[in-house]
């Protein structure tokens, strides 16, 4: 089973990844169940889903930074042709930061309040690159320029509390790309910012992709954000990928009722004055029902859905969905 977006070998190919979290009293939460997806070189993959759908766990398992209680129980994470899950901790450490960069949700806590912006960029450079002090300084200025920060020389001496959220997120992005990583993981990078700044940060990410050929795994719960810069989208529900494909195709023709519901609940309300919502709440990941995980909330549910989980199947060569009734879903 392969859902590669590109015919050439993808940068990151995750197959059959399963993550379990050991809860209290022997409860095992299945945070990810048989995830398969791939991110091509220079492409932006959007990971969309509600809270608790396993988006962040997916990103953390790629980084091998899962919390202590969580364990990868199966699957492979191929990155640049190597399986990250079997790498030694030492090899993994040298890969992080150098080959994979990360941006987090809240820029106000992403930088240490006690050091100037320049010091923090410098720290990232020192960890991997063999550069002299002057070289690192020049590189820091270059990085700030490339993320669109005006008068970078002056900004280097400023402290995080002297900068706005949007500026800080740019600095975080500068640090993330400091060592020319091939992959950037952005975990809700715009959620904590206000809407005008969100667009700027998204444009920045798109610019980095275009100029540096960097691949981006963008985690978000907002279809608008995904539509803005993603090439491909994977929709996650209850630890599974329920739909995946190029962003245009999914927008024009969603093939899973959950995708459709998400799209409608993130848009502006049509006619009525109530924001459309999805009734019910996601299933308990420690006690999943048989059949499709979305069945309880699905407007198109059939008896078959409750008995038998639908496998993800290809609708077009690069668009796939896990629903028995994909073909009947209205746009």
């Amino acid at each position: 089973m392969s859902f590669d977006q590109t015919t050439i070998e993808p940068l990151l190919a995750v197959s059959d990844l399963s993550v379990e979290i050991e809860g209290r009293e022997g409860r095992t939460v299945r945070a990810a169940r048989g995830l398969s997806f791939s991110v091509g070189k220079g492409r932006v993959m959007g990971v969309i889903g509600e809270s608790g759908s396993g988006k962040s766990m997916t990103a953390l398992s790629v980084m091998r930074l899962l919390p202590r209680a969580a364990k990868v129980t199966g699957g492979r994470v191929m990155f640049q042709g190597e399986d990250l899950l079997t790498k030694s901790p030492r090899a993994m450490r040298s890969l992080r930061g150098r080959a994979i960069g990360m941006i987090l949700q809240d820029p106000s806590v992403s930088l240490d309040p006690l050091y100037s912006v320049g010091d923090q960029i410098d720290e990232a450079l020192r960890m991997h690159a063999r550069m002299g002090k002057a070289e690192r300084h020049a590189r820091a200025v270059e990085l700030l320029t490339s993320v669109g920060i005006p008068s970078p020389e002056d900004r280097l001496d400023q402290y995080p509390h002297e900068m706005s959220g949007g500026m800080l997120q740019r600095v975080v992005a500068a640090i993330a790309i400091a060592l020319n990583p091939a992959l950037l993981i952005a975990d809700e990078p715009t959620t904590a910012l206000d809407p005008t700044i969100q667009v700027q940060v998204l444009d920045l990410l798109a610019g980095l992709r275009d100029r540096l050929g960097i691949s981006i795994l963008l985690i978000t719960h907002d279809f608008g954000v995904a539509a803005h810069i993603c090439d491909d989208i994977m929709v996650m529900y209850a630890g599974e990928v329920v739909e995946m494909g190029p962003v245009r195709q999914i927008f024009d023709r969603p093939a899973h009722p959950y995708t459709r519901a998400l799209m409608h609940s993130s848009g502006a309300p049509e006619g009525g004055n109530r924001l459309p919502t999805i009734d019910g709440s996601p299933p308990d990941l420690a006690d999943l029902p048989p059949g499709c995980a979305f069945a309880q909330r699905c407007p198109m549910v059939q008896p078959r859905c409750r008995a038998e989980a639908p496998p993800r199947r290809a609708l077009t060569p690069d668009h796939s969905a896990a629903c028995w009734r994909s073909e009947e879903i209205p746009a």
């Binding site: 992080r96 806590v109 992403s110 006690l114 975080v172």
Partner: protein, 297 residues
């Protein structure tokens, strides 16, 4: 964010005026005034004291302070039962107090902070083992611990130091562990890990400086507490031994003379109380000073 809150009760002008009254060169006046005598006497004792604190002269036993009948201006706080100058003995006591407080609080802070950071940062089994040790420590009454150590080592400076360190370190461990747990989850520690910054560097560069304010406030408060404990240990006879001088010893020796020569225990008691008060006030002030929410107004 729109602010529709009512204006704060203290206006900036009022606050500035208050600050001008309570601080001098950026330092709080009252705590510094209370602590300064002890620190100055502790550091420069031999140059300050008018008489040898150990010099016995039976001719002038139990001399009252000069403002009372029979007093002598050369002994401004009177003399004790052996005719030793009380003022000089108080200064000698300040030296002991300064040494004991500084050394014990610093060592306790280093041990406790290290334990707290390790427990908080690494979590899991390390956290469990270290925190259970803290729990065990917390369940032993400090007085009992001190008596135990006194019984093993005999009285003296070492007993005081070890007792105070053993009593105090766990407080740091608890507080610092909690703060580390919170810091560990902040973006910059996570991103430092992502950027392959070593644990050692995360500890020294990111955790420790961010923990420092908490640590300094706690040290100041414990500085006051250590004075009281030192006096208490000495009072029950397990600390500084005569003929040396310590504030606790002066209170202990003087209590039998309370009805006839009240000045012996009273001035020493005052010294303990006021210095400890100064340390506590300074601790409160530092806590506000380091609180980012109260700062920059």
């Amino acid at each position: 964010m729109t602010t529709t809150d009512a204006p704060p009760l203290t206006s900036p002008t009022l606050r500035r005026a208050k600050r001008r009254l309570t601080t001098l060169f950026g330092l709080p006046i009252i705590p510094v005034l209370l602590l300064a005598p002890m620190v100055i006497c502790g550091l420069f004792g031999p140059w300050i004291w008018p008489h040898d604190p150990l010099g016995i002269s039976f001719g002038i036993r139990l001399l009252p302070p000069p403002w009372l009948e029979g007093g002598n201006w050369s002994y401004i706080l009177g003399t004790d039962q052996f005719g030793r100058d009380l003022f000089s003995r108080l200064i000698e006591g300040a030296r002991i107090a300064l040494i004991v407080s500084t050394v014990s609080v610093s060592v306790a802070a280093v041990i406790g902070t290290a334990v707290g950071m390790m427990a908080g940062y690494y979590g899991g089994v390390i956290d469990m083992i270290l925190m259970r040790i803290v729990d065990v420590k917390m369940s032993i009454p400090p007085v009992l611990l001190t008596i135990l150590i006194g019984a093993a080592l005999g009285g003296g400076l070492a007993t005081i130091l070890i007792s105070i360190i053993l009593v105090f370190w766990a407080d740091y461990a608890r507080v610092i562990r909690g703060e580390t747990l919170a810091l560990k989850r902040t973006g910059y520690v996570q991103l430092a890990k992502v950027a392959n910054v070593s644990d050692r560097r995360i500890f020294l560069r990111h955790l420790l400086p961010n923990l420092a304010p908490t640590c300094i406030v706690l040290m100041t408060l414990q500085f006051g507490a250590s004075l009281v404990i030192e006096a208490a240990i000495t009072f029950i006879g397990l600390g500084i031994q005569p003929p040396a001088s310590a504030w606790g010893l002066l209170v202990a020796d003087g209590r039998t003379y309370l009805s006839t020569a009240w000045w012996i225990p009273t001035f020493a008691g005052l010294a303990i109380a006021l210095t400890a008060l100064g340390a506590n006030l300074l601790g409160d002030w530092l806590r506000d000073y380091f609180d980012p929410k109260l700062k920059k107004r």
